[in-house]
Point group: C2
Chain length 250, copies 2
DNA sequence: CCAAATCATATGTCAGACGTTTAATTGTCT
DNA sequence: AGACAATTAAACGTCTGACATATGATTTGG
């Protein structure tokens, strides 16, 4: 692709796009070394700092990695599922926090996706996945657990359920949805009673997974979804009431 | 966050992380203007090019936007669903192409997710969404359509189905899964007969959506998933056979 | 009072330089 | 000859300083 110095778009953005397109098209295979910064600056007829800005853009997307030293340079990076998880979580988190996405909408999406892979999880789960789910459910029943630890364990439980489906693409997709919800979930202060109920749901899910009962797993997830949304609604209502109280007393 | 000049990590990466964390934590609200590059370079005690590399990293993730001129600068960007779509599609596409994800795995994930939002789509679809689905199905029945146009229309059809659920978070999640499949789908050369069958499936889906029959929609999607995977398997088998033929004649 | 010219500010780009990391080469000693 | 040490070269990481350009604000002229 050609670079247009008169374009209103930054040169570094144009160069980044050109290289990115080459990577996506497969012209630049994984682990291929790009020309050195000096060579790139000559090829694109721009200065080295401009080339560097372009490379940093690509590095931010995990499309390339750089190595220093004699045989160093920029290499096309094999995008791992882990890299993709991280980006997805960052993006999803910001998307939810910046766009006033209601708890209801996010929650609905999350449980819809989770229910989508539950049948597969029930069918394919390994002993390891089941053990993780049991362990997290057990941890959640401990009395001394902080809210943060409870939420983290909650994420781990659902993560195990999703991973049990044995489909990395599904795991990747779900990671964002589940993890991005955590800040919103943390807003809900879990009382002892609601924890108890959630743990009961988790145990029921683990039972269904253990017994290979896909329909039961789906039903429990549906119940858990409803319960979570009700819980959120009551918390929100209580908060609004408190706010009204405060504004009245002013 | 403090910047460590002796860290093995690039200064620009450290600075980008510091700013990114501030954005995620909400310390820097949407549309807030960051200090100018000169000011940042003073605050972090680095040179302006280093600051610029950090800002380009953030710009690549759509976390900030920059404006030139007197009142210009870098502003915290409101991450739109559209921005997020784009990133998701790029990431998903690369993930599939770089990690030898089997067609089967990708396909399974895609249809599992799509079936997750079908019940909601059936329940909430607007006349507009249904009309789009009908129009695309009709277009797909045209005889002169190229393979590329057919695939694009296929994506548009399923996109409409997903959007009909009226949940932007779901749409965002699904966009990656559906669009990233297109290059893989294009590998399958659709014969006239398989097109006919796919169009029939699409019409059945549209019927189910129109009639508010969630179970039927789910069943048709399951059938479509099976059919697509069978189709792919036969294409792959044929290709392998041709390859063996070629290697025998060598 | 409005319009045009000017100014100030901030980003975009460039040129050149130096430091640091790293691997390959060279050289020397045993 | 072989092994270890010193040198070299390539490449990225960073800095300084400068100029170009865009754009809102200010001033000036009619």
């Amino acid at each position: 692709m050609k670079i247009d110095p008169d374009s209103p778009i930054d040169l570094s953005a144009q160069i980044a796009k050109a290289i990115r397109d080459a990577i996506i098209a497969g012209t630049l295979p994984v682990d291929e070394r790009l020309p050195s910064e000096a060579e790139l600056s000559e090829q694109f007829d721009v200065s080295r700092p401009t080339v560097r800005e372009a490379l940093k853009r690509l590095a931010a997307q995990s499309l390339i990695r750089t190595q220093r030293g004699a045989t160093g340079g920029a290499f096309v990076n094999r995008l791992t599922f882990e890299d993709a998880y991280g980006q997805q979580i960052t993006t999803s988190t910001l998307l939810l926090s910046m766009n006033a996405v209601s708890f209801q909408t996010a929650c609905e999406a999350r449980y819809a996706l989770e229910r989508a892979c539950a049948p597969l999880s029930v069918q394919r789960r390994s002993a390891d996945h089941l053990a993780t789910m049991r362990a997290e459910a057990h941890r959640q029943a401990q009395p001394g657990l902080t809210d943060e630890a409870f939420c983290a364990s909650d994420v781990a439980f659902h993560r195990a359920l999703v991973d049990a489906a044995g489909n990395p693409v599904l795991s990747y997709q779900l990671a964002g949805a589940v993890e991005a919800m955590q800040p919103l979930m943390n807003m809900i202060t879990f009382t002892a009673r609601s924890r108890e109920k959630i743990v009961a749901f988790h145990n029921q899910i683990a039972d269904a997974v253990e017994n290979g009962n896909g329909a039961a797993a789906d039903a429990v997830l549906a119940d858990l979804a409803s319960y979570t949304m009700e819980l959120a609604q009551s918390v929100i209502a209580a908060r609004d009431a408190a706010k009204n109280e405060a504004s009245h007393s002013n």
